[in-house]
Symmetry: C2
Subunit: 193 residues, 2 copies
Amino acid sequence: MIEQHFLNNIFKVNDFSKKELEMIIPKFKQVTFSQNDYLLNEGKTENHYWFIESGFVRSYVVDTKGNDITTNFYTAGDIVIDWISFFLRNPTRENIQALTDCVCWQLDFETFQQLFHSIQSFREQGRTTLVNSYFSLKKQSVSMIADQAKERYIRLVKEKPHIVQNISLKYIATYLGITDTSLSRIRKEISGK
Amino acid sequence: MIEQHFLNNIFKVNDFSKKELEMIIPKFKQVTFSQNDYLLNEGKTENHYWFIESGFVRSYVVDTKGNDITTNFYTAGDIVIDWISFFLRNPTRENIQALTDCVCWQLDFETFQQLFHSIQSFREQGRTTLVNSYFSLKKQSVSMIADQAKERYIRLVKEKPHIVQNISLKYIATYLGITDTSLSRIRKEISGK
DNA sequence: AATAAAACTTGTCATAGGGCAAGAAAACTA
DNA sequence: TAGTTTTCTTGCCCTATGACAAGTTTTATT
């Protein structure tokens, strides 16, 4: 196989030796999901994570009033993982749902552990990935306090245009912490400028 | 020294061998901060983290309008760290400030790396600590969307009563994403019940 | 104790965004 | 191509919270 495996975009030759790549890449298994399939359901303990080769995914939690709140969107190149459930080995509160058909590459916890403890660059990359997720969450969280809904939407359009273009308004609204009604009005206001 | 070092509460004999503890604990250095000292300032790259033996600390960011937003409170037993700056080696956006005099135990990045890559249980614990921080942030973030300010305040009182009792209203308000005026009204309403 | 500076409360009024319900438009389905 | 369902828009009215400004209380300073 000449180096054109999708995972070579994730595990780069600059960061890993050839030998390490040979230990890592074959451990991933390709899986596909159809639109509306669940990758993970509330109450289950996550035993895998995935890199998305193609498609769109969202994660959400259901609040005490029964509304669902989108916690994240994922698309090609992203890691889909519930860090909390995966590492703390707890039943999750999240639901992870394919919004379109998806092609993913899956790794299970045990294999992850084995690679994590044996390959230094694998654990450095893993840590960096987790910290990057922390960073996005923090940004989103501060923005929720500091910015008005319209500003949050504008930022999302700028930072993740493909999300805004491909995902239905109601999910984007709950991600921004507003109702679909409000988001519709915000859109109108923006386009009217 | 008979095992009554403060850090023995953090690194427990159940999780580490005696030899490992001897490699870890002496690497920490005791430092003290006076009220209003800064542990970290915006723009600097974090090169340390601390465990708090006593005192109260908060972290905050300044938003585009110049208001500050408290991102977290820390107290005895907690780790004080800017995960993002520490691991990504970036200048931080956060300010970390002692709200009272504090006694802390400090470790620097280089020593951390050395321990992280050489002691398996140290990295397991480090990862767990990071994921726990992620978990609190996520909870706070979802609550910001799902709950009203009053519910968020009630939850804080329940989960971290010592914070509510020891820290001034204005900081708690920005942590909850509201103004000090609103928090004052919420308090009144609650006590009037 | 006297003064100053913070911290907190309260009043009045303004506004972002929610709740609900009815349409309109678009996307499936048969 | 008609029928159904889902998605999105719009109108009307309401509520939680903000903005600002004036007290009051508490804490620190001399």
